[in-house]
Each structure stands twice: as structure tokens, then as C-alpha cells.
Amino acid sequence: MPFVIALVLGGIVLLATGHNPLEFYQLLVREAFGGTDRIAATLAAATPLLFTGLATAIAFRAGVFNVGVEGGFVFGGLIGATVAVHADLVAGMLAGALAGVLVSAVPGWLKARWNVDEVVTTLMFNFVVAGLTGWLVTTFLQARGVANSATPLIPQSSWLPDLLPPYGLTSGVLVALALVALYAVWIRHSVLGYELRQTGLNSRFAAAQGIRVGRVIIVSMLISGAIAGLGGAAHALGVVHRFVDGFSPGYGFTGIAVALLGRNSAVGVVLGAILFGALASAGTTAQLFSHIPLDIVDVLSGTVMIFAVVRLWRQR
């Protein structure tokens, strides 16, 4: 229902800008789901969001408002890509995860040990990582003879295999979905998952019952960082095949929206990632068939984002 409101509001915008909303919505649906190739494109666009959404959700679940997934994703991508050039696929993925851990460890520790506000530190770390990767990719890790800041191309043997050649859907999506499924079970049925949930719901309660809240916070941040970094590595090894300027157009931030839309649940994260993935893939190719600019598609997804979370009936 809120979704419908978003569509109606988007429709008004479309009408006001002289476009036929029904036609455009049809086009969007076709470009998002109308055929194997389009579904593959949507899933491919959803894949990084699955990683970042999940990484965000795990930290949120522990009550840690980690907005630093973007940094983990980017750093994981750079390190994953670099290691994969010199080693292999598995090493690249692991290195990416480790890089993500590096990014989240410090804010996690600061929060756990000294109660340093994680929103600021993780946000700041994003900027720091952006600078650091920007520097590395124009110095030590740069591929020679390329007009942009980019690492060398990863040899094909180290790529994440494609699922549905020739469509660019890689097995990264399977890794992501497996992680989401694991998360669903783990958060409900593992000891650590239990402690994480309790810490997130009421950390004072958790501490009084003997849960080591600081430790749980650190662990949640490490896992969050590892998933973010793994996502970056999967994106590098599966899709871009190197690290390059514009590697992440803000997947980490969209991941926050995905996690919040999905209320940090596994199913919610999957749905949220697919929603934004569909808008991204369909919004791009729809331009081949209409004259609606990307700006309007973005207005639409912003509207969907806002209204997908409204509660229409105040609960009594």
C-alpha cells in the first residue's frame, strides 16, 4: 500500500514533466523483469546491495549504527582486486573480507571500549578510506598505461564465474544469498546471534545478564566489515574485474536504505536489494526506449524509498 502511494506520487511527477506514467511503469517492469536477461541484470544490480544491506543489518541488529559499510566495500574491492591479480580467486575474496574487517575494526573497538559515537567515526572512516584508496590507486596499485585511476585487470582465471553467460550475472549473487540465508538462521538460532539481538534491543539488560556487550559490539562490527569487504571483492572479481574510479556509486549508503527498509531481516534485505536493483537496472536501459531522463527515474526511486516505510495507520 505505501508502495502504491509512492507510485502515485511518482506518477504525478511524471505527468507534470509530460510523460505517461502507466507507459513508463510498464517499461520499467519490462526492463526489470521482462526476460532472463533483464532478470539477470536486476539480480546483478542487486548483488552489491545484498552484501552492503546485510553488512549494515548485522551491525544495526547489535544496536551499532554502522554507516561505514561503504568504506569497507571500497577497500575490500581495492585489496581484493589487487590480491587477485597476484594470487587467485579465493585469496582475493579473503583479502577483500580482511580489508573490510580492517575498516570496521577501529570504530567497533572505539565504540566498545570508549563509547565513541560510531555514526561519526564510521562516516569519517568512509572519507578516510576514499582518500586512501584514491591515493593507492594512483600510486602503488595503479595499472600503467591506463587513462584512469585503476588497478591492473584481474586475469580471467581469478574471476568469479558467471552464472548465466552471456549475461553479466556472476556467482557473487549466490555467495550473497547464501550469506543472507546463513544470517537468517544464525541470528535466530546461534548463541552469538542471540547475544547480538539482546545487545541491540537493550544493551543494559544484556550487560546485566552477563552478555559481554563490548565484545558483541566488536564482533558485530567485524562481521559487518567482513561482509562489506567480501562484497567489494565479489564486485571486483565478478563484475568490474579491477578496481577503478567509480567502483562504488554509493552501494554502502543504499545498503543503509536496504537494511532499514527490510527492518534488518533477511527477507527484508533481499526484497530491498531487489527493489533498488530493479530500479537501477531498469532505470538505465529504459532510456533506450523512452526519453525519460535518469533524473526522473531517481526522483521515482527516492519517492519509493521514502514511502515504502511510512505507516499509514497509526497503531492504537
Binding site: H189, Q198, L201, N202, A206, G210
Partner: protein
């Protein structure tokens, strides 16, 4: 006589729970009207409706003989109604003075006239006979202080109908007497008071009329002289209740808890040691140090083991149980399921290879909940959905089920109804008789006298004295609490 405030056929359901069902109450102007009933009987719900905080599904609120619609608390306040809620509506980051004047600030233009506010506050406090640290943050004062501010706030707002939802739950005996005196004074000045309490004696002492609720329905409304202690209790719980009398411990064993330092203290196996003191005398700090929520410079041993630097979980492993005085924020996780609340702390024992066994979790939680007669719907429901008395049983059950060597119990019956209180008291005695050591911290003198083998009285962070338990120590404890030496 006019019906100053009343309910006409009011019903209010929360999902399947019928909190109020066809409730009819008439509070006559210029009387003290008590509303009593067991936990979850629907008292708070009714009061919230009468104040405008909640709206009934059907039925109407009556004010001055006329049916009215209250769309929000502003309407209630407009009709001269003041509510001192059970769940204190204090704002932690504001000072007590700020909390007091919030909403009806004395002003000069857009500015708050702090001088006037302070004067008013002091006068009010003097009238009620309390002294309050007005510049302290509400977060940093005890529940009872907060409660006093709530009462002053309603008075200050010139409420001529004052609804008090369990105002005495956190007050010391002397303060209770003062409050009751105040309520009588208000009535004599022509105001109307609606008073909710689980303490039958208070009700009998102050009320003109008593309405008994049970299961959301009005059982009866009677003038106070038509009931006595026993019959009122029977009306409330619907059955005859036998209360256990004071009985000191039969067998006292070895020292289980030893605390050194400013508050030297030891508790032996098979012994209940009560800790008395007016709020803020150092009870909270003592409890938190023993439990491990606050660093302790002084040595603490549990069953011979030095636990001074151990984290909470290790202390619990060593045999510590803890009933928190802050049920809503520390004792329970209100948004977590009953099962998750019940297994907390023991959850590691229910796992294998890091995974919780769902069947073990269920079984454990059910044992705790059923074993301590918690009334609940589904074990996956949030703790928030239980009434306060039942919430407290969850905490009691969780902590007692583990047969701790040492139980630290802070305010274990706060806000619990008569039946629940006697139930919890029996459970605590049984635990003691099984050889556990219990450190009991409570603001309720009767509870301390009833349960404790000996009572340590704190004043200003130090031990002011120690007396044996039992009803005869009442006066001695009262004196010590005020910091005077027992004569």
C-alpha cells in the same frame, strides 16, 4: 453530589486482551477514591482513558456529570485532571526543576522565569514535606525522587482531580505517611483524588470509596467502612489468601558473600540480609558493585572466590543471581520475546557448537514461565505485552530457577499485587531455606522486616547500623534510615 470524574460503560481491548470491559465508575467530587485490583486488572488502562492518554473502544468519560470526549492529555488537563502515571513521565536529560515546570512554565515573554520556578518548587516541596535536589538531572536520581516530582508536578498544575497510579510503590514508610496525609488534606480542601495501590492498608487508611477491578471488569464499588483488610483482599484476588508470617532462618551456613571497604558486609548461606535506607543512600552502588556492573575498588568474594574483577557472566557462573530494581530497563528486555528474556544469562548452557537448540530453549523458557505462574499468551510475544506483575514473575523465575548461591534482589515486588507479593515472598523464603544467601534491597519496610534475618541500614553511603529482622525492629530501622543512631 456531582460525579467529578467517571467512566460509563468503558471498554478497551488490546488485541485479544480485554483490558477494560463495560467499566462503570463514579468518583464523587471531594473524595478519595481508591481503585484496586490485581496486576493486569485494567487499572492503568482505565486511568489513561480518564486522563485522555488513551481512547476507549466504546463508552464515555464523564466529567462533572456530563459525558465528554478526551482526544488527548491536553483535554484532560483542561478539565482539571492531573495524572501521576505509573510509568513515570520524567525526562532524563532535564533537571528536576525543568521537569517540574515543563508544559506550564512561569514565563517572562518567551523566557522562562527560573527564579519564579525555583520559588514555586521550593514552596511546593515544603508543602508536601520533601526536599529535592532541583538541579540534578532526572536520570541521576532515584525512582522515588522522580515519583515525588511527578506528584508535585500534578499539584502544581492545579489539578483538582489528581490521579495517582501506584504512587507509593517506591516510597519509604515515612514518605508514604506524608503522602497519605497530603491526599487527605487535598480532599479536605475540596479536591478529588483517585488513588491506585496494591497496598491494602494504605487504601483503607486514605480512601472514602473503593472500586475493585478484576479481569477488566468492576467487581464492586464500596464505601471504605463496608470492607476490612481481609474482605478487601478477597475481593481483589477472588479467593482467600493466607500470608506467611515472619520466620527467621533455621540453618545458617558459611559466608557466601563478603564485601570489604566502605560498606563491609557479609551474607551467609541460608540467610536473608536486608538493606534498608532512604533512596540514594548507596544501595544502587552496592548492588552494582556486587553484580559487576560497576567497578569496585574493594574486594568482593563469592563462596570464597575473589570476584572483584570478574565480568558479570563469570560472577553468574560462580553462583550469582540478580533481580534488578529497574525492571523495565535492566531486568527485562521489553521488546524481546518472553523466551529470550527467560533464557538470558543461561543461554550459553542451551547451546551446542555455538548454536542454540530450539527445543532446549523452548523447554527452558516454558519451565521458567510456567514454574513461576506467569500468565502469558505465546512465548514468542514481547515482554512488553505482559502486565507489570507478570513481568516481575518472569524476572523472579529466571533468577530463582538457577538456584543461585547468592541472590541479589532489589525491589523484588515493586508494583506487584498482593497475591503476587505473597507468592514472591514465599519463593524467596524457600530459596533461603534451600541454603542460598539472599541480599534483599527494598524501599518497602514491611517487606524487609517480613523477610530479613537481619537488616543493614545505609545512610549516606555508609552503614548506619544493623538490626535483627522481624516486625519489632520497625522503629529502629526507621530511626537509622534517617541517619540517627538507634537508641
Amino acid at each position: 453530589m456531582t460525579v467529578r470524574l467517571g467512566a460509563r460503560d468503558i471498554s478497551r481491548a488490546f488485541g485479544p486482551v480485554r483490558a477494560n470491559e463495560g467499566v462503570n465508575v463514579e468518583v464523587q467530587a471531594g473524595t478519595v477514591h481508591a481503585v484496586v485490583g490485581e496486576n493486569g486488572a485494567g487499572k492503568t488502562t482505565l486511568m489513561r482513558i480518564l486522563y485522555g492518554l488513551d481512547q476507549p473502544d466504546s463508552g464515555t468519560v464523564v466529567i462533572n456529570d456530563h459525558p465528554v470526549r478526551l482526544r488527548g492529555p491536553a483535554d484532560g488537563i483542561g478539565h482539571g485532571i492531573g495524572l501521576v502515571p505509573q510509568e513515570l513521565a520524567m525526562i532524563g536529560s532535564l533537571t528536576l526543576l525543568e521537569n517540574l515546570v515543563l508544559g506550564t512554565e512561569p514565563r517572562r515573554g518567551p523566557r522562562i522565569d527560573w527564579a519564579a520556578a525555583q520559588t514555586e518548587a521550593s514552596e511546593l516541596a515544603a508543602r508536601v514535606g520533601v526536599e529535592l535536589p532541583w538541579t540534578a538531572l532526572a536520570d541521576n536520581v532515584s525512582i522515588s525522587v522522580r515519583q515525588q516530582v511527578e506528584i508535585l508536578r500534578a499539584l502544581r498544575r492545579g489539578a483538582d482531580v489528581l490521579i495517582l497510579d501506584e504512587p507509593t510503590a517506591a516510597l519509604a514508610p515515612a514518605q508514604v505517611d506524608d503522602l497519605l496525609q497530603l491526599l487527605r488534606g487535598l480532599r479536605d480542601a475540596g479536591r478529588t483524588v483517585v488513588f491506585i495501590s496494591h497496598k491494602v492498608d494504605e487504601v483503607l487508611a486514605v480512601a472514602d470509596e473503593i472500586t475493585v477491578l478484576r479481569g477488566g471488569k468492576v467487581i464492586t464499588t464500596r464505601p471504605v467502612d463496608e470492607v476490612d483488610r481481609g474482605s478487601l483482599i478477597e475481593l481483589i484476588v477472588g479467593q482467600h489468601v493466607r500470608f506467611s508470617e515472619f520466620a527467621s532462618s533455621a540453618v545458617i551456613g558459611d559466608e557466601v558473600l563478603v564485601v570489604s571497604g566502605d560498606v563491609p558486609l557479609s551474607v551467609r548461606a541460608g540467610e536473608i540480609v536486608g538493606v534498608a535506607g532512604i533512596a540514594g543512600s548507596g544501595q544502587d552502588e552496592l548492588v552494582e558493585r556486587i553484580v559487576g556492573l560497576r567497578r569496585s575498588a574493594d574486594r568482593i568474594t563469592l563462596a570464597g572466590k575473589d570476584i572483584t574483577t570478574l565480568p558479570v557472566d563469570r560472577r553468574r557462573l560462580a553462583g550469582l543471581g540478580y533481580i534488578s530494581g529497574e525492571r523495565r530497563s535492566e531486568g527485562l528486555s521489553m521488546d524481546a520475546s518472553l523466551a529470550d528474556n527467560a533464557i538470558a544469562g543461561a543461554h550459553r548452557t542451551l547451546g551446542r557448537y555455538g548454536w542454540l537448540r530450539p527445543s532446549a530453549v523452548r523447554a527452558y523458557a516454558k519451565r521458567v514461565l510456567d514454574g513461576y505462574s506467569v500468565r502469558y499468551g505465546r512465548i514468542s510475544a514481547a515482554a512488553r505485552t505482559l502486565s507489570g506483575g507478570n513481568q516481575q514473575r518472569v524476572v523472579i523465575g529466571r533468577e530463582l530457577d538457577r538456584h543461585p548461591k547468592l541472590l541479589v534482589a532489589a525491589g523484588p515486588t515493586r508494583g506487584v499485587d498482593v497475591l503476587g507479593m505473597s507468592y514472591i515472598h514465599d519463593k524467596l523464603r524457600a530459596l533461603r531455606d534451600n541454603g542460598s544467601a539472599i541480599l534483599l534491597v527494598s524501599e518497602q519496610l514491611d517487606e524487609l522486616l517480613d523477610l530479613s534475618d537481619r537488616i543493614i541500614v545505609l545512610h549516606g553511603g555508609h552503614i548506619a547500623g544493623e538490626v535483627p529482622g522481624g516486625p519489632d525492629s520497625r522503629n529502629a530501622v526507621g530511626t537509622l534510615m534517617l541517619g540517627r543512631k538507634a537508641s
